[in-house]
């Protein structure tokens, strides 16, 4: 008893296995936040270190899709990437089998431009790499990790929510999702020029950042859209016709929230 108390003097009442049980029943985001309560709470969510000597997409995918032993589960990947100056390091947070967050922002690699293609394996739903992930959150995807992300998305046949965040260098993103995808969100990708999304059962589309070209194909159930264009036009020329095409994409929906300046610009145009 004395030993246990000297290791964890701060947790006076509950043993760590009960605290872990409680944390596992908190929604993932709030659960991850408990790590700033104290160092002892952070140790309840200690990351599992995963190291590879090479960039083996298959092996990484195995780790990402493996059901976790406890939840939330934090994996810290360190990969030695051939011919690059730095190793690739990234964090993954799994919430049970349903939720996966990939954060590549630890990488100090140069930000070069890239396009991202995400296609779900809808033609062959019984492929061996089936994953039950419902929510996929991708942060700071870069040129080096875009193929990994594409492969991951390919295996998420029942994905319901996709969020892309802070992908510097991402110019064009194309998403072809299965019927399960209902929520798409993209925020703070400063170099973005276009989004093409095809998702038959998409209900909610949320965007924040510079004004891109947006094409939404065949999403008849779309009811809610948010376009927060706080970062303006970005680097490109835009004319009102593009804006009209953009609005055309949202003409059937029930609720559209859009930054005011866009409408002002268009209504004042000749």
């Amino acid at each position: 008893m004395e030993d246990i108390e000297s290791i964890e003097p701060k947790i006076t009442k509950l043993p760590s296995e009960i605290l872990q049980q409680i944390i596992s029943q908190i929604p993932l985001k709030e659960a991850v936040r408990t790590s700033i309560l104290s160092t002892s709470w952070k140790s309840l969510l200690a990351p599992i270190q995963v190291q590879f000597d090479d960039f083996d997409g298959k092996k990484i995918m195995g780790f990402l899709l493996k059901p976790c032993e406890s939840t939330p589960e934090i994996l810290k990947f360190s990969l030695h990437v051939d011919g690059r100056e730095n190793d690739l390091v990234f964090h993954t947070v799994k919430g049970g089998e349903k939720e996966l967050h990939l954060d590549f922002s630890l990488n100090k690699q140069k930000k070069s431009n890239f396009d991202l293609v995400l296609e779900s394996n809808y033609s062959n739903p019984h492929d061996f790499n089936f994953s039950s992930i419902k929510t996929l959150h991708l942060i700071s995807v870069n040129r080096l990790t875009k193929d990994l992300v594409s492969t991951l998305f390919f295996n998420c046949q029942v994905l319901g929510t996709l969020k892309l965040e802070k992908c510097v260098g991402l110019k064009n993103v194309s998403v072809k999702a299965s019927t399960s995808l209902t929520d798409f969100e993209m925020v703070d990708c400063p170099n973005l020029e276009s989004i093409t999304i095809s998702a038959p059962n998409l209900k909610s589309f949320a965007y924040r950042g510079v004004l891109p070209l947006i094409q939404i194909k065949g999403s008849l159930s779309l009811v809610d859209a948010v376009l927060d264009l706080r970062d303006g036009f970005g680097n490109k020329e835009f004319d009102c016709e593009d804006v009209m095409n953009l609005l055309e994409a949202f003409k059937e929906i029930e609720s559209l929230r859009i930054s005011g300046w866009l409408l002002e610009v268009c209504s004042s145009a000749p």
Partner: protein, 166 residues
């Protein structure tokens, strides 16, 4: 032959074997049907290995908490209770303040009653998830032992989870 199980059913409570659970905190005693008490793996192990006398002493659990535990076990020992009934009954048992819940989860852990452990920790999780962190620290007796720099580093590790968090 067909009437045999019928008889067993009718000859219910009086002939059933009972156990007495005694809280060692306030010496309160509870007489419980054995099959109710056996939902506790800890008690079952004691009974199976013949370690249990007529009165089973339960250390560190107060009578108030033990009564809740027994209520849970009774509900779940009732074969005619529907899943809905049990859910409602469970919700009633865990509709308590956070400190009672912490005692209850410790009791469920000690007595090894998986279902009670789960519903109680779920209730604790629901109660604390939206609380300010200082309140959570107080509830669990935790002190913030980070330097501001360390705390910033921990936040930076999982930036996405702290967006908009004070």
């Amino acid at each position: 032959m067909a009437s045999a199980p019928e008889n067993e059913k009718n000859a219910s409570a009086p002939e059933k074997k009972t156990l007495t659970l005694k809280s060692m905190i306030n010496n309160e005693e509870f007489v419980v049907d054995e099959h109710v008490a056996l939902q506790s793996v800890t008690i079952k192990n004691m009974v199976d290995s013949d370690c249990a006398g007529d009165v089973i002493p339960v250390p560190t659990i107060s009578g108030e908490i033990l009564a809740l535990v027994i209520e849970y076990c009774k509900n779940h020992a009732n074969p005619s209770a529907s899943e809905d009934d049990l859910k409602k009954a469970d919700a009633g048992i865990v509709a308590k303040d956070i400190y009672t819940l912490i005692d209850l989860v410790l009791a469920a852990n000690f007595l090894d009653i998986k279902g009670l452990l789960e519903v109680t920790s779920q209730k604790i999780a629901d109660s604390i998830k939206d609380l300010p962190h200082q309140d959570v620290r107080e509830i669990f007796g935790v002190e913030n032992d980070y330097t501001p720099e360390e705390e910033a580093a921990v936040r930076a590790e999982h930036d996405w989870a702290f967006e908009g968090f004070p």
